[in-house]
Symmetry: C5
Subunit: 354 residues, 5 copies
Amino acid sequence: MARFLKNRKILMGKSPGEIHFVGKQKMEQVRIRLMSYNAQNIYESEHESIAPAISAFKTNSLNWLNIDGLHDKAVIEEVGKHFGLSPLVLDDIVNTDQRPKMVEDGNNLIVFLKMLSFNELENRISAEHVTLVLGNNYLISFQEKVGDFFEPIRNRLRQNIGRLRGSTPDYLFYRLFDTIADNYMLCVGLLGEKIEADETHILKNHNKEIVNNIYRHKIEISYLRKAIRPAKEVSTQLKNIETELINSSNDPFFNNLDDLITQTLETVEIYHTMTGDQLNMYNTNINNSANDVMKVLTIFAAIFIPLTFIAGIYGTNFDYLPELHYRYSYFIMLGVMFILALLMLWFFRRKRWL
Amino acid sequence: MARFLKNRKILMGKSPGEIHFVGKQKMEQVRIRLMSYNAQNIYESEHESIAPAISAFKTNSLNWLNIDGLHDKAVIEEVGKHFGLSPLVLDDIVNTDQRPKMVEDGNNLIVFLKMLSFNELENRISAEHVTLVLGNNYLISFQEKVGDFFEPIRNRLRQNIGRLRGSTPDYLFYRLFDTIADNYMLCVGLLGEKIEADETHILKNHNKEIVNNIYRHKIEISYLRKAIRPAKEVSTQLKNIETELINSSNDPFFNNLDDLITQTLETVEIYHTMTGDQLNMYNTNINNSANDVMKVLTIFAAIFIPLTFIAGIYGTNFDYLPELHYRYSYFIMLGVMFILALLMLWFFRRKRWL
Amino acid sequence: MARFLKNRKILMGKSPGEIHFVGKQKMEQVRIRLMSYNAQNIYESEHESIAPAISAFKTNSLNWLNIDGLHDKAVIEEVGKHFGLSPLVLDDIVNTDQRPKMVEDGNNLIVFLKMLSFNELENRISAEHVTLVLGNNYLISFQEKVGDFFEPIRNRLRQNIGRLRGSTPDYLFYRLFDTIADNYMLCVGLLGEKIEADETHILKNHNKEIVNNIYRHKIEISYLRKAIRPAKEVSTQLKNIETELINSSNDPFFNNLDDLITQTLETVEIYHTMTGDQLNMYNTNINNSANDVMKVLTIFAAIFIPLTFIAGIYGTNFDYLPELHYRYSYFIMLGVMFILALLMLWFFRRKRWL
Amino acid sequence: MARFLKNRKILMGKSPGEIHFVGKQKMEQVRIRLMSYNAQNIYESEHESIAPAISAFKTNSLNWLNIDGLHDKAVIEEVGKHFGLSPLVLDDIVNTDQRPKMVEDGNNLIVFLKMLSFNELENRISAEHVTLVLGNNYLISFQEKVGDFFEPIRNRLRQNIGRLRGSTPDYLFYRLFDTIADNYMLCVGLLGEKIEADETHILKNHNKEIVNNIYRHKIEISYLRKAIRPAKEVSTQLKNIETELINSSNDPFFNNLDDLITQTLETVEIYHTMTGDQLNMYNTNINNSANDVMKVLTIFAAIFIPLTFIAGIYGTNFDYLPELHYRYSYFIMLGVMFILALLMLWFFRRKRWL
Amino acid sequence: MARFLKNRKILMGKSPGEIHFVGKQKMEQVRIRLMSYNAQNIYESEHESIAPAISAFKTNSLNWLNIDGLHDKAVIEEVGKHFGLSPLVLDDIVNTDQRPKMVEDGNNLIVFLKMLSFNELENRISAEHVTLVLGNNYLISFQEKVGDFFEPIRNRLRQNIGRLRGSTPDYLFYRLFDTIADNYMLCVGLLGEKIEADETHILKNHNKEIVNNIYRHKIEISYLRKAIRPAKEVSTQLKNIETELINSSNDPFFNNLDDLITQTLETVEIYHTMTGDQLNMYNTNINNSANDVMKVLTIFAAIFIPLTFIAGIYGTNFDYLPELHYRYSYFIMLGVMFILALLMLWFFRRKRWL
């Protein structure tokens, strides 16, 4: 299956807004969790369906509804109905191939992102589709599976660390996006370490494993870029957006976020160039090595082939071959051979092959 | 015939707007089909010429006129006369080489596109010229041949699935464009799968077929890009256009469409880079392999050529060659040879060729 | 002489507007032809100098003055005086190195272009400097030599085909530019066919001619690009220009023209990339072939060199070499050799060299 | 540790504005130095903590507070409280990975930069994080360690050379930034000299050291670019900024600064291209050399292998081998061999291998 | 010394506007020449210092002050004082590393440029720093040494050729800039000829000199680009500038100038690409040649090594080797060898190596 385009089996002629989950189902049942909190109180609850979750919303509180699992059409549609999300948006929420983007829909601000994680064993980045819906007193997050990326945020809420508990939904929204962006940085860093680690191997010895590594790294870098570039577009839009959903007092945070993603992208570009340079280096080293091999071959061949030829001449069985019968012929031959070999060595020395 | 420029035999000095069909005629007779529908009723009819088709138009209905086959000048001109299309536009309709673009002409909005299809056997993308003409209560579509790309839309109309039946012509217009764009995605996906499939072959074994594959893929990617890039321009124009023909309530659909094509183009770019990387990888692997071959050759040559030389010396027939007459000469020679061979092996070992 | 910069011997310190023809004189005498026409009548005449030609201008008619040959300073200056062209413009008219551009000067709109032609035998694009001067009731065209590029237009005028006879000078102006642009397309197409034709040669067999071809094609593509890119700038300027010399009713034609040149440029870019890919392919094929050659060499050497060594041992003339005297020694040796050869073959088989 | 991303161990879920120093602590204790000066007087003092330093501020003077060492959270936070810096800014001050940027915060203008230094022995650029905070009558500079980059400025202040003593804080701000930018130029120049020095080595002889050099230079150039590119953004912003903190009379200085950084960046790009060309050159030279090696091998082999074969034939021990018994056979064989060798030499001469 | 950054030994901490000449002093003493002219009269004088030169200025005349040699700080400062040039500008005048740019300062328009010259023997472009200061009735030009680039202009003034004598300073300003730009074209043309001349050498034979040539050309092209690119920025600024110092009637000249530099830059880009293509071509040719060499080697080896092996077998001295004693053994062996050789030849023929 093509990795850069997961669900190509698009139902031709499908209406826009008909919700079709086309990704790989990553968990059995949809998990619906609600956190309602304000500076004073925090309530956590888990629900089997959307309706009870929504009726558990607290006024005077920020309600964070987290939905893990995108395969249950009914759940998605119910969310859409309650919060006034258009079918197009709902379709994008379940379309795990959806490119990161920002949409304003009714009273909501929706951001589609990719959550990346780096599998160090397989040397492979994998992506998960995440949607954040920001409303006036709620935030809804959709994930493909129960990930623990947002767990640190939840713990901070529970223990009331930092500014989260007393803040507006846009701050939570910022923090979740920021968590995802931090994670980009983390992935780039992990991949980057591997890339830089190859460097010494390339310069020192050159086993073939490294070629595969470099190629794999190139692919992963492309993959990272595909996820982060449009996320940069989103963060820039958020920086400049005029909406009542985002307090202008939080602008510095969104500036900072945009900054972070810019820096990540620039680092990605540097590693991209670096893998290309590594491949070139590797090739140059192979060429160098091939050259050395051939010099060894040529030196051996050029020295011994003529000598063997001379020996061959005196190995012939002609009745009349006068040199054979002189007393010192053999030693003269050896002497000539020795001088020839020295001449060859001097020749190769002068050519700087030795 | 140059593939990237099909009909170069342009009639120099030809007037603009003189209609000359220059493509390859793909069907014998032009086929004219009409669908008139509204929320309540739907009528389908097929006509031999344009005039009766137009007189079959229903008021209070959306009239979708589909014309398959571009070679009949009379048909095209009659359409032009009825709907107020200028000769330049008519010429572009039959010019199968026309680059995708958007034109406003009189009361019509015209979009020229390429419908792509991927022949998996030949590994080859082929393109068909499609024109969509959007008017206030009609939509005219021109195709080179009877394709079934629009068939799913027709079936949905017949069975009244989704929002199509109750919508305005711009929605149908959107749906047809969207079908074409979905198809781009499909082609990219199919080609992408083939490209990604090559990957393992390149890393594992390297037969020569693969070089041809990579080259072919590069060409096909160029071909895709040539069709999709200007389609992106069109979709962006549609997103921003101010016209009475498009309801602002349908704006989200056109945004979504532009999005889809952007994503397709980005994926095309990734595959473009990937094929380049694959060629580099392949070359590196060949170099590696050549290096190995040469090492084997050099090891054999460097070990046995000197030994053969030694044997050659004692194969000479000199009358006076003292070593020949010592009792253990032969075994000493064998011993020396053995030691020499070991020395060579140690030498190559140290050089890490073994 | 540098091809991409024909007349580098610029007279340092020369005043701007001092007219110096620096190209290669392509015809002996300047040829001045006049066509005056309107919907009813057409007059053609040829003149020895400018003054009589201008006095033959008809009012109520469109006067098309065509001047072939740029080397006669007096002719150029007289044209300048009559139509109010500044010395700078006159200098650009005779400067065959002038880059395509558009200038408004007094009551004239002047366009400098390159007329390209493709010599299929030499595989070479050649360019001719063309200037079009559009006035309120006249059009003046300058060419380096008597070309027949504009002949089809003249014939249409004579035979009153199409819209030309009844139109304003800007339409004639458009038609001449369009003829030149059609010609770009034609050149690109012819060169493109040659480029695509090489493709199969590269993939099948690889003689060295092809490298030269690819290189030549690359140069020609650069040459095409150098002429067409600034022509694109001109056509875009014409599309957007506000001048009384161009009727707004002719805008669609200029849009179409800009379109045509855009498409040509895009095709040029594709062929540019393609020639680069072809060179890469060719190199990969050479590498592959070199690899094969070396495998053959290595297999032969690795099999026979050790065997020859063994034979060499038993060719030595030692007095005491016991194996020589056993009855089956010879056959044992042959057997050992056979087994060795089989082992080598198996080894190379396993390495997939056979 | 990945060099292009030093502190990837980001504490996921950390609040923005929680100050975490993540770099490598480069000095034991934070050093706080104050210079208060005006045209008449100058006072220097060193303090153990921030509070006394601030209370030593002089009115009617420019107060330059220099803080070396970023690891002491208390110091940073106290500075923040006194001068109204937001937690986000404070976090950026201690985040040694922070990308160069400009921020306006309250009454301050803050610029984050990288101070580069080139270690000529290791051929390595290293970067230090520097922050400049410009207020209405003070300037605060943060450095990772006690560097002497700003020492020349201090000496000029002490000795009252140039315009510094009588100027406003923005001029000091400019001078510090300019010092950093001069330093970029210096680093580029030092690295550039090394790059240009390699040139002759590449063209003359080719030892393998050079490949590593070229690769190292490429990496260092990337590193330079990563620091200088965003600094260019900052200098351009400063050029265009409208703030009361910068006197418009100092605009030419900031224009000049932007100019300097632009020029530096352009030079960086040239060296970037140059290292790429050097690698290409090196590869071409290796290929050339390999070609020569192989020609030598082939000439030796092609001349002597056939001759050895001939000698081999007459070394066989057939009972009936008539040539062996003719008187001049041996000399005829030698003659034939000589002629064969001459023929081969002539053949290789014609092929221009000799 | 790094060529692309001549005077890296920047005095860290130096005040901006402190004038430090850092280039290589190219002449012993500063030479100050004045030309005062109007349509009627022309006066030329040479002065030892600035003050008398300025007092020799004529009103009602255009005063062209030409200063050759930048190393005398006193001269530069006196010019600055008289014409109101800021220290920053004065510093840029003597800074031979200054990037081309345009500055407006007080009542002057200042342009910094590079005058290029091509040393055909050394194949090397060298640059000289030139400054033009345009005032209301004067023009001051600074050069590093007494060059004769402006001599043709002086002669035209003396002999009153062309429009110069009756024109305003901005026209002289234009003419000097134009002379410099013409010179760019000349340099590009000369270098281009050398580049195009290499072409045939690359395709025909391939000696190693050419690699060095190509590399040198690449460097020189970079050098040209570094000087011309910012000059293009300057010419574009001049085209669009609104200043009283430039008569709008001279606008066409500045348009023309911008045009000329654009064309030069485009040609530079083409040659840049061409040198890259040449290197590729050269490499391909080497690969081709290496391939041929190896084929020759392989053919010789593969034919004669097996034959020598056969001869070796019958050269062994086994007591019992039956074939040796048959009467026709020798001839059978020769026959078998002949057939084997033919088979090999046929094999290589089929592989198209022969």
